[in-house]
């Protein structure tokens, strides 16, 4: 008699073999990614922001699909995690300058005591000066893997550095230029 269904709960015992010489599966599993969130800067500014303290919004256009699970919360540019775990944090930025030629920087700042922040990751990009009437663009990206052992004390924020002070960090509410994403990849 052909089987149309297998009673996995009662008939399957021992290790489940894996094809092509892989290690057999011997224990229960949960979904790997349980949390993803994405935020962006809505409004451009010039000069330094250490940290970027305002004009953040959760990405809310183009069928974004975030948050997956319970998302991040944000206050004055400080992001709080919804649960403990290992997170990948990605930070992309777009810079613009007119008659400025200094480096721009984007950085991820981490606190483990809800007070003092250290540099988690940093990216520098040089904005080339072509002429006083020609503007130039550049982009930056950095990421950081963070073990969030305590959601009260472990938090992140994001900075932007303008070399000469007149360079701009680009934000837009209609599409992401400067933004961050958070992905929980496992337990702490």
């Amino acid at each position: 008699m052909a089987l149309s269904k297998i009673d996995v709960a009662n008939m399957l015992t021992g290790a489940t073999p894996v094809a092509n010489g892989g290690t057999a599966l011997t224990s229960g599993f949960v979904n790997g990614i349980t949390m993803v969130d994405q935020w962006r800067l809505t409004t451009s500014f010039s000069g330094n922001a250490d940290p970027i303290a305002s004009n953040w919004e959760r990405v809310d256009t183009d069928s974004d699909g975030v948050p997956v699970g319970t998302g991040m919360s944000e206050s004055s540019g400080i992001f709080t995690f919804p649960s403990t775990g290992i997170y990948i944090i990605k930070y992309q930025g777009v810079g613009h300058g007119l008659a400025h030629s200094q480096r721009l920087s984007w950085n991820i700042q981490v606190t483990t005591n809800n007070s003092s922040y250290d540099m988690g990751s940093n990216h520098h990009e040089h904005l080339r000066f072509y002429g006083s009437s020609l503007d130039t663009w550049c982009s930056g990206f950095c990421e950081h893997v963070l073990d969030v052992t305590n959601t009260t004390n472990v938090k992140v924020r994001f900075g932007f550095g303008a070399g000469q002070g007149g360079e701009e960090c680009i934000g837009d509410s209609g599409g992401t230029y400067t933004g961050v994403s958070f992905t929980r990849i496992g337990d702490t």
Binding site: T43, F45, S46, A49, I52, A53, N55, A162, E168
Partner: protein, 75 residues
């Protein structure tokens, strides 16, 4: 860059830092312009040092100045 065509481009040039925000970031008109409460300076979050919004005419004048400069540079 294309010809400056929005007041946000002018606002960015009036002061540096995150001194302004919008009550509706998807409708960036002067009526929705506000000062931010806090800005980030040297690792600290402090009160916004800009305490007064520029007038609408001042913003428009700055935008026109930028447009004129762009026109002059781009024929």
């Amino acid at each position: 860059m294309s010809r400056p065509n929005h007041i946000e481009i002018a606002l960015v040039k009036i002061h540096s830092g995150q001194w302004f925000t919008w009550t509706d970031s998807k409708n960036k008109i002067y009526a929705n312009l506000r000062l931010t409460d806090k800005i980030g300076v040297d690792g600290n979050i402090v009160d916004n040092t800009v305490t007064e919004l520029p007038t609408e005419s001042a913003v428009n004048a700055k935008l026109k100045e930028m447009q004129d400069a762009w026109d002059a540079a781009n024929g």
